[in-house]
Structures are given as C-alpha cells and as structure tokens.
C-alpha cells in the first residue's frame, strides 16, 4: 500500500488530464510550492504524466553546433534560425499537434498557409484510415455520456482501453451508474473482439478471438448474418459461425449498443476497409435497435486537431498549402508518404515525437534535412533535431482548449507556473509567424 500524500499546501479541483483521449476532467492536483506533488482521481498513466514533469525536461532553446552537439542559445537566435530555414524550404512539413491546445494549432495552421507547408498530425499514422472510412460510408457516433446512460451492450474491437485509456470503462462506459443503467456493470453486456487476450477481454463477459488481419472477413460475415443470409463455412476468421450468430443476436436485441474500436482495426491489413464495413454493420443494426460507435483516440487533443483543421481548411489532416490553398489526398499529402518519397526539405514536430512514432525508413530522411522540435521533454526526436524549442504543458502550465475523443470541448486550466525559459506553443508559433511574415514581406517589397 502506498501512503496517501498529505504534504501539500493547495488543492486544485476539476482539472483536465492531458494524457489520453478520455480527457478526464475531474482530476485534483495537489500543489506544494508551485509544484505538483500529487494527483487524485487520475489513472496511473495520467498521474505519472502530470507529476513527473521535470524528468528530461527541455528547459532552454538549443541549436546544433558544428560539432553536431545541441548547444543552448537565446530564443531570438533559435526562432530566427527556424524562421529562416522554414522560409527557405520548398517542401516543409509541420507535424504533430496531438498534445497541444487548439489555440496553438490554429496558429500552426496560419504558419502552414503563410509558408506553403504541409500540416499533418498523428492521425496520419493512427485513425487517419478511420477518417477515410467516415468519408467513404458515414459517421454514426455519440458522446460518451450516451453510453454511460443508455448502453446495455458494449463492444470493444481491436482496442484495449484497460491499458491504454484506463478510466474508459470505469468513468464512461461499463462500470458507472447511468440514468437508464442504475446497476452499472450488472446492467451491461460487454464483449471484446480481439486476436489477443487483453486486460479488456479479461473484464468482458465474452472474449471473441479472431485471426490477426482477418477483420475485414469477420465484419463482413457479421453483416451477412445480420442480413439473414446463411454462411456455409463452419468458421470465419477463426471464429465458429455459431458464436457469430450468437453475437449478432445479442447486438440485434440490444436496447442501446455502443461499439468502440482502435488501431487494432484501423491499422491491420485492410485498413480503412475494415472500418468501412464496421460502420456499415452499425448502420444496418440501426434498423433493429439503436447503435453508435466511436474510435478510441489516443492523445488528449488529437481529435481537436482534426476539428480545428476542418474548421479552418475543410480537411481533417495531411493538408498541403504548397499552392496557397488547402489540398488533401491520402498517399500524396500525408507525412509518411512524403518522407518515403524523400520530398520534405524541412520538418518541424510540435508536441510529437516522430523518433518514436515513425517507421525507420521515414526517419532516415529526417536525418538528412533541417529538423526542428517544439516540445516539453527530451526524446528520440530531440537527438535528430537541429533546433529545439522548449514549450509548456497544456492543462498544467498553460490553459487551452482540447477535444475529447467524442469531440466534447474542454477548457484546460493553467495550474502551476512554467519553467522560466520555456514558452507556450502558442507563443512560440506566434513569434515564428511574425518572423516568417517579415522575411516574406522583405522579399516581396
């Protein structure tokens, strides 16, 4: 047993967690001398992210010197240099944005437009394929409270929230008392479809294991059964057809069903086609009962980026401003494809670590071109970066808007002061915008 923290001098309640797409907004921060010494209500990951903020923190702007080492410098020099590199490049990419505020993202979009950059975020490697599917066949979603209040059947497919979104089941879907589900967990049937036996499968009523990369086959079979057609095989994707019949029966007879899916669906073999057919299954089910679905979004504001970018440019990610107006074409204007074609000649990552997230072949190109990092902590991408601009943490040191996985906006608080020489993403990007604008005006006059 850990001993409870008693040595604090201030409590700040109803803070929003800046870890995952749950954006839990009931967090209490415990402060002592303007430091966070404890966190209440948060999950282990969220708490750890909020508390352990000074480990490997980037504290001063740095520029890589001639010996190849990062050397501390002034903000003016680092920003001037970044602006010049960005302005002189012909195919710049501004990537990341999943862990910053919408206010900062909007500044980033302005820079992209001014500099003719591609602006893209983590959905390009995560739920981008889900968004493609929405564009193909539709988008039947709900807010999490609909699930809490109404759902009697909940299905998790290719996702493991017990480990990745730890409070998803306890705060939003499965365990809490809902208006029409007074007995919480006892009023609900939870089913996990996953090739692996996950911790989510463990707390479910049923785990349906299917073969890796056979999602498309599986979901199509479910649609077929729902249509009342008979399947001649004994099993599909490794699942006995009898079990699928049972599953469809449960789904058809649900009063309110909710389906959540993760990268285990959107990033396996058939990618967006998996999601296409899953959406169609949900659409079909609405003939018999009420069903909604939601992708499990990762970072706390990855969904906010999609929303802000569509508001400003019309497209959700991978927007190319090289012609001065927005263009979007998956495979053409998306980051990994650009890097694989060796196109970019400038790369800036904002609150993201491509060093962790990208495939090796793409990272190779990053070592060949000017790279800039705007972030709070040292990570693999710092090792690749030519310029490092230390920023602040949204929801802890800086206020700002984030959108939960179901697009509910939350205004995240500033609770403690930032390290002295760090600046918010919004400030850094505003300064950068001014500098690029000056360079551009200078050239045009």
């Amino acid at each position: 047993m850990e001993t409870p923290i008693t040595d604090y001098d201030e409590e700040v309640k109803n803070c929003s967690c800046s870890y995952c797409g749950n954006n839990c907004d009931d967090i209490t921060y415990l402060l002592k001398n303007n430091n966070i010494v404890g966190v209440r209500h948060a999950c282990r990951i969220g708490a750890s992210k909020i508390i352990n903020d000074q480990d490997q923190r980037l504290l001063n702007p740095m520029v890589r010197n001639e010996e190849g080492l990062l050397e501390e410098t002034t903000w003016d020099e680092a920003l001037d240099k970044t602006a010049k590199l960005l302005y002189e490049s012909t195919r710049p990419v501004l990537y990341g944005w999943g862990e910053t505020s919408v206010e900062a993202i909007k500044k980033g979009i302005k820079i992209a437009e001014l500099s003719g950059s591609v602006i893209d975020n983590q959905s390009t490697i995560c739920h981008g394929s889900t968004i493609q599917a929405f564009q193909n066949v539709g988008h039947p979603v709900m807010t999490l409270g609909e699930v809490k209040n109404r759902a009697d059947v909940i299905i998790y497919v290719g996702t493991n929230p017990m480990d990745d979104h730890p409070r998803h089941l306890s705060r939003y879907t499965t365990f809490p008392e809902g208006f029409f589900r007074r007995n919480g967990r006892n009023d609900r049937t939870v089913i996990t479809l996953d090739p692996k036996f996950t911790n989510t499968a463990k707390v479910s009523d049923e785990w349906i294991q299917f073969n890796m990369n056979e999602d498309y086959l599986l979901f199509n079979a479910l649609r077929t059964i729902l249509r009342g057609e008979t399947i001649e095989e004994n099993e599909i994707a490794g699942v006995p057809v009898e079990q699928l019949n049972k599953l469809i029966n449960i789904m058809k007879n649900a009063e309110y069903g909710a389906l959540f899916f993760g990268l285990g669906v959107s990033q396996t073999l058939a990618k967006q086609k998996n999601v296409d057919v899953l959406i169609q299954l949900i659409e079909d089910l609405n003939r018999y009962s009420k069903w909604s679905m939601l992708p499990m979004r990762g970072f706390f504001n990855v969904s906010g980026f999609n929303i802000a970018l569509t508001s400003e440019t019309g497209y959700p990610y991978g927007v190319d401003f090289s012609r001065g107006y927005p263009r979007f074409m998956v495979g053409e204007t998306t980051t990994i494809d650009l890097l694989n074609r060796r196109e970019p000649d400038f790369f800036m990552a904002i609150s993201a670590d491509p060093g962790v997230q990208f495939p090796g072949y793409s990272i190779q190109h990053l070592t060949q071109i000017p790279t800039v990092q705007i972030d709070t902590h040292w990570g693999p991408y710092t090792e690749l970066s030519d310029i490092v601009l230390p920023s602040t943490r949204v929801g802890v040191e800086t206020e700002g808007t984030a959108y939960r996985m179901d697009s509910i906006p939350l205004f995240m608080k500033k609770v403690i002061d930032k390290p002295e020489n760090c600046h918010s993403d919004e400030w850094i990007l505003t300064e950068l915008y001014k500098r690029v604008e000056t360079l551009k005006n200078g050239d045009e006059n």
Partner: protein
Amino acid sequence: MEYVLKNGIVYDPKNNIDGEQMDIFIKDNKIVDKVSNNAKILDITGKLVMPGGVDLHSHIAGPKLSIGRLYRPEDIRRGIKPATKNDISGFEAGFSLPTCPTIGYRYTKMGYTTVTEAAVPPLEAKHAHEEINSIPNLDIPTLTLFGNNWFMLKYVKENRLDDLTYFISKWLKLAKGYGIKIVNPCGSEAWGWGKNVDGLDDPEPHWGVTGREVITSLTKVNERLGLPHSVHVHTNDLGHPGNYLTTLETFDCVKDIKKNKNVDRNQVMHCTHIQFHAYKGTSWRDVSSGATELINYINKNEHLTCDIGQITFDETTTMTADAPMEYDLFRLTGLKWANKDIEVETSSGLIPSIYSKHAPVSVLQWAVGLEFFMGVKNPWKIVLTTDSPNAGPFIRYPKIISWIMSQEKLQDMLDNEVHNWATKRTDLGTYDREYSWNDIAIITRASPAKILGLNDRGHLGVGAKADISVYDIDVDNFDPTLKSNSETLENKLLNSMYTIKDGEILVKDGNIVKLVKSNHIWCNINGLEKEEEQLINRIKPEFNKYYTIKYENYGVNDHYIKPETRLNINYGGVSNENN
C-alpha cells in the same frame, strides 16, 4: 470615422422609406442625422441601399458543421478559390460546408452583417463559439437547443414551470445563448432508443411527455423571461408527407399564450423552415403541397412568424438535431449517413442531399417554399432562408430573390425547367405576385431583425447600428422583373458594392477590404440569480450522474466570447445592451 453615403436609393421599410433618393450619415458605429465637414463622402448616386442583411436561421458553427466537413471532403473541393493579391481575405473552400473564414467572407460579400447559428447543444457550445472566432465580420447570436433536454423534460413532466424558468435562464448564461431552440421535441430524445415520436401528442417512450407539452411550456417560459426572440421551433414530423396537420396543430397550440408586453416582436413562436413541414399525402408517391392551409392560418393569425427553408436545386448537406429523420433519409437514399447523439441534450444527423430539377419530390419541395413566398400576404411574417445548408447553401439567397422578383423567370422555370409536379401538385402556378425591393428589404432585413428582437439593426433610422449594404444596381434603370436580368441581379447581390458594419467598410466593389472579429450576441437575464443558484445546488448531483463532464467545466467561459454583445434582460423583459 464619419461617412456620408450620398444619393443612394434607400429601402428602409421599418422607417417607411420605400426607394427614396437620400443621404445616410454615419458617425462611428451608428447612423446619425448629421456629420461634420470632415466626413468622407461615398458617392453612390442611384444605387440600391438597404440595411445590413440579417439571417435568423443558418447553420454556421458547431459540432454538426465539424462532422459535415470531416465526412464530405468532396464538398470542400467544390468551393476552392485561391486567395488573390487584391483581396485581403484568404482562400475559400467548401460549397455547402464552407470553412469558417469562408462563411464570413461570403456572407459579408452578400451584404449580410448578422447571422444566427440556429442550433447549439450547450455541451458543445464552447465549440460553436470557438468556430465563431474563426468566422470574420459578422454579429452572431446562437440559439440553444432545449427541446429534448432531460432537465426540461423532467420539469415539464412534473409541471414545474418555475424551475424550468430558472433552468433556461441559467443555461443561456452557461451556453452564452441568445434564445430557445426546439427541434422535433421528444422525437430526438426518442432517437436515443432508435425511435421517433409521431406528431404533437405522441409521448416520448421514457418520459411520457409530448411535443405539445414541451412547446407550450417553453413558450410560456420564454414569455415569462421576456427574451427578445420568441421560441424558435422546428416542429415534429419534418419531411414526412402528411405533416402539415402537425404543423397546423403546432401553430395553434401556443395561440392563447400571452406575449410578454415588454418585448418588441409580435410573435410568440417562430416556425422555422416551414417548407419542410407543409406536405399532404401519406407517402412520397401521393404527396402534395399542404402550403395553402398553412398560408391561410398565417394570414389570419398574428402570434407566429416563419422562415422558408427554400430549396435551391443543389447538391448540399442536410444537418439537423432531428436525428431520426436523417436516419429515415439514409434508408431512403443510401447516401452516407452521419449521426451524433449528445448526452442529456439532443441528437443530430447528417446526410448529403441532391435536389434536382428533374426529381418530382425535389421540385415539389421547391414549389412549396415558393408558395409561402407568394401566399403569405404580410412580408413581416416571413423571412428568406434556405436553412443553410439544408435546403441549399446561403449563397443562393440572391438566386431566390431573382425568382420571386420576376414572374417571367418563375413562369419560365415552371414551363421549361422543372418537373411537372410543381404545377400539378402545388398551387404555385396560381400566383402572380412579384416582390418589390421594399419587400426584399423586409424579408432579408427588417423582418428577421424584428422577429429576433434585435431593434438596433434591420433599419437605417437615427441611432441604429451603421450596418448597411449598397449594391451596384441602378435602381431606376434596372428592371428586376425581366427574366433576362436574373443572372445580373444574382451576381450583383452576391458581390456588394459596399458592406458596412458598425460604421466600417468591410467590402468595397465585391472585395473584402477589412476583417474584423465576429461579435458573440447573447442574453443575460438579471433578477433570478438567487433562484438559479438554488436550482444548481439541487441539480448538481443529477448533473454529475447524467453528464460525463463536471458541472464546473460545463459552461462557456469568457475565453471564447471576445468580443461579445451581452444583452442584459431584466427578468420580465426590459433590456439594455452592454458591450
């Protein structure tokens, strides 16, 4: 800054100015009766001058728009226009779902200065206000959705009108809302179980409350509070053949509710996009127009107003908090369906829609809308809208004006362009009305401003906001009744000569010359603070049980509403403005 608009032909129906050549004086942000010698003179001799346009029902910001843009990139591509060097505005993108900046550019170029966002769920009001911050150049009131809210349903069920009054008052503060919006009352909540309600007296499956009870209760509360606008109602049964009876019943159910004597409007209920609620028949096979009956009712009664929701023959996107109806449309058309249900408050749905001149149903809908334009005798009771983007995008307003000003144009469409259902199944062919410029100024300016209760606009009297639009139309030498002029008319109205808002020139010769931040207009009711606080203390436990965010994080904070116009309403209906 001072200006004189010299020698324009002015249409200001509220002040009975019907096409007079006169000067208009502007000082700072107001219209005045004289200016100093330093005033800048804008010579607009003979040109058409009207108050700035007022749209009282459009969808321009909020979650539905976001979902629409996200799932229809094909629509964004249709409206791409790169920025040009001689215009200070940026690129445009989107047709029925323009990007936020594009919405501001296009409305301003049409001479509009006030646009109401007609459906905002309080839970996502931050989002709507955040999008408004990306829309330039407009004044934007937002209507808050209450017609399926659980607290409302509970108070109606238990007949607790006092609590409902405090609730609405507090919730408008939390959502920074301007007025009460009701959409398919009880039906959108029934959609939580995949169901709908059928008509005004069909109870919602759980609460047992009917649309009639919701509408009458909220109307009573609206008048008690003395809100500048009446309840704004999207009635049950939208888009269903036979629904005109439900609409008639809805009109009638508030007939005996007394209007608050302190408010300036005439109506106690505004029925929106009436065209979608005016069909006879039992199916799309035997459907016909029910407009005549509704028009007769509107002509005989003073307690309601309506806007049209005119079909424009475009591929557009429908989006509404009437989610079950959108699923019906999905079943009918098979086009891609989006749905977003919002806990405790509402549901919403979207589906693309193609209104074709050759499709019988589209044409019937088009003709029904025009029947209202032709049949409602008093133009102060109606407003030109397309329920943008539902029946068509707002950039089609000028096209609609070209139809209703020219009998020749309209007859030509009936004879040569559209499917014969327009004449066979509606009474459109029996009218020969032509709108005058004065009528147009009423249905696009004076009437919506009055219906909204925004007395400082929609007219050009001394003391009014200096919101003015000037069009490059030589009134005396241009005949809008000629079919051959309809295209010119449309283009001139799409690209104003001047759009002036708050005394600043925003558009000159069809180009945007200045961008200002849009103004968030909302109603702050004074005098119920104690009751609101007691109510909140009582409902907080329920709130935290129903919602998935904390009450403390629910409201729209000041961060999102700069600049704002806060209309301070004293409980019971006397207001003063506070910027």
